[in-house]
Amino acid sequence: MNVPRVAGVGLIVVVPVVVVPLVAALAALPWYGGPVLLQFGIDVLLMATLAQGWNIIGGFTGYPSFGNSVFYGLGAYGVGIAMAQFHLPFWIGLLAGLALGVVFAGVLGLAVLRLKGHYFAICTLGLAFVMTAIVSNLPIAGSNIGLVLPLLKSEVLFYELALGLLVLATLTVFWLAHSRFGLGLIAIRENEDGAAVMGVNTTLYKILAFMLSAAFTSLAGGIYAYYITFIDPVGVFDVVLNVKMIIMAVFGGAGSVFGPVIGALVLSAISEVLATRVTSLASLFFGVVIVVAVVFMPRGLAHMSAHLRDAGWRYFLDNVRAHRL
């Protein structure tokens, strides 16, 4: 619906002129940015990856998952358990977390993706609570105390890993926006019965989308675990984190290619500025952004930037008028 259609000529210009130099500049950031900027960069890149991961199931497929934090937690615990309990290298933990997340999404997707609307949303929310409670009871996962990982003082590595993951996630979403598979997902979002009639194997497509979403989310969780070196159930299965990915994707433009990345960047930057003044103000900010964004710009920055020039301030009023009582 609001997937930006870049024309053939535009694409040839946009990729080498804007995207490639931008990614190169970002990749070189450790060599010209300070440590504060680097840490902020890791946070933003991971959040953007999470938003992009949510975009696949929530934005493209139209299934508003409140359980993506489960995949994040599984990825984090894959790394945590492998490194803290079995003294295995980081890479093995990352792959274990990835496998956990993807398999979990596949098995669970079979059951929960039959639900629609409220039911899907709350069921996945319930899953996040169940996982917190289960992991709090697992001795191998450090019960409710958590796990301490070996310290690796190499922020450059984490930064480049996070950047690479985000690029991969965005390329995947770009592919979705232009592939038969992605169009199938959009068809499911717009009209699931209609998509089924047109020959889309909706069950398979939805589960694959859920697994793809889980893959990026659990990888981000794994990187986060090693970067932060301490994980506990309440911290990594955090429902608020899930809401952050949703609002970043929705604020930027759910179902678009670059919207979630821009949303994550803008919101993280503002919340970072607020957090340096009053630490806890950042969480209030997210709440207020959700309320204001849903009322005035429910279709996100991507849609707004396309229509604001024509409609001006009326764009916001039109949104209100369209949905109020």
Partner: protein, 287 residues
């Protein structure tokens, strides 16, 4: 055997309170088609309001409940009138998201004013109990149970037999027809949400009496209320009582036989299972 009986009674007493918690959520969901993710946060606010009235103004917590109810009604009325009425016709996901935004804001404000410490409402008689055959009944819990069940039944009678109650039910069934008969949807929606918030407020006050409150109890309480609404259906407040009692008993039995740390695994596991097996609810219509 006596232990099992005691645990069952404890579960039933807790379940009555759960029923009251879920009633407001079910009412708002059934009439406005909004699953209010801020419902647990409203329970939390009600808990703090009662706590404030008790510790700062010295009002007996049970006597403070009506004041809490009025305050929460006003808050709910304002939220619906000022914010939610603006997005009521938006896709389901938007209303879900905006109520989560409200939950984040309420949790922040509570943490700002009351800090993240656990608070309990402890009147002088908090430890009193009496024996009934082999089981011991804590006075406060029995009173909370009685109020919760009483309010739930009263709500049912209110919806059935009063003019406003009929207006609310009519709007839930067919808004256009209700409008033609002179129901003002803006007012009736705000009234409904206000009632839901007032019920949450009273439930919060009672929760503070039998348990502890902190700014972050909202999310899990919303999820529990949702489980109960799913089990009981939205048609009939009496279904909510069944759902609440069922959850209370299951939680207590889990705590006894599996371990207290598995309580949440049980209640949220039921949520997921019920949704997967019977998404239309166990007893009645859900949406």
């Amino acid at each position: 055997m006596d232990l099992l009986l005691q645990i069952l009674v404890n579960g039933i007493l807790l379940g009555g309170l759960y029923a009251l918690m879920a009633l407001g959520l079910a009412l708002v969901w059934g009439v406005l088609n909004i699953v209010n993710l801020a419902h647990g946060a409203l329970i939390m606010v009600g808990g703090y309001a009662t706590w404030m009235l008790f510790t700062r103004a010295g009002i007996d917590p049970f006597a403070a409940l009506p004041i809490t109810a009025v305050a929460l009604f006003a808050l709910g009325y304002a939220i619906q009138r000022g914010i939610l009425n603006l997005v009521i016709r938006a896709p389901m996901f938007n209303t879900l998201l905006i109520t989560f935004g409200l939950e984040v804001v309420l949790a922040y404000l509570a943490q700002f004013w009351f800090s993240a410490d656990f608070r309990a409402i402890n009147p002088r008689y908090a430890g009193n109990n009496f024996a009934l055959g082999p089981v011991t009944l804590p006075t406060v819990q029995v009173a909370a149970f009685a109020i919760a069940i009483g309010l739930t039944v009263a709500m049912w009678l209110f919806l059935l037999h009063t003019r406003i109650g009929r207006g609310i039910r009519a709007s839930a069934q067919n808004l256009v027809a209700a409008r033609l008969y002179g129901v003002s949807p803006k007012r009736i929606y705000a009234l409904t949400f206000g009632l839901g918030a007032a019920l949450a407020g009273v439930a919060g006050g009672l929760y503070g009496l039998v348990s502890q409150i902190n700014p972050y109890i909202g999310g899990p309480l919303t999820a529990k209320s949702f489980v109960i609404a799913i089990i009981g259906g939205l048609d009939n407040p009496l279904g909510v009582i069944v759902g609440g009692l069922a959850l209370g008993v299951i939680e207590s039995l889990t705590a006894l036989y599996v371990g207290p740390t598995y309580r949440d695994v049980a209640s949220f596991g039921i949520l997921v299972l019920v949704l997967i097996v019977r998404p239309a609810g166990l007893l009645g219509r859900t949406a």
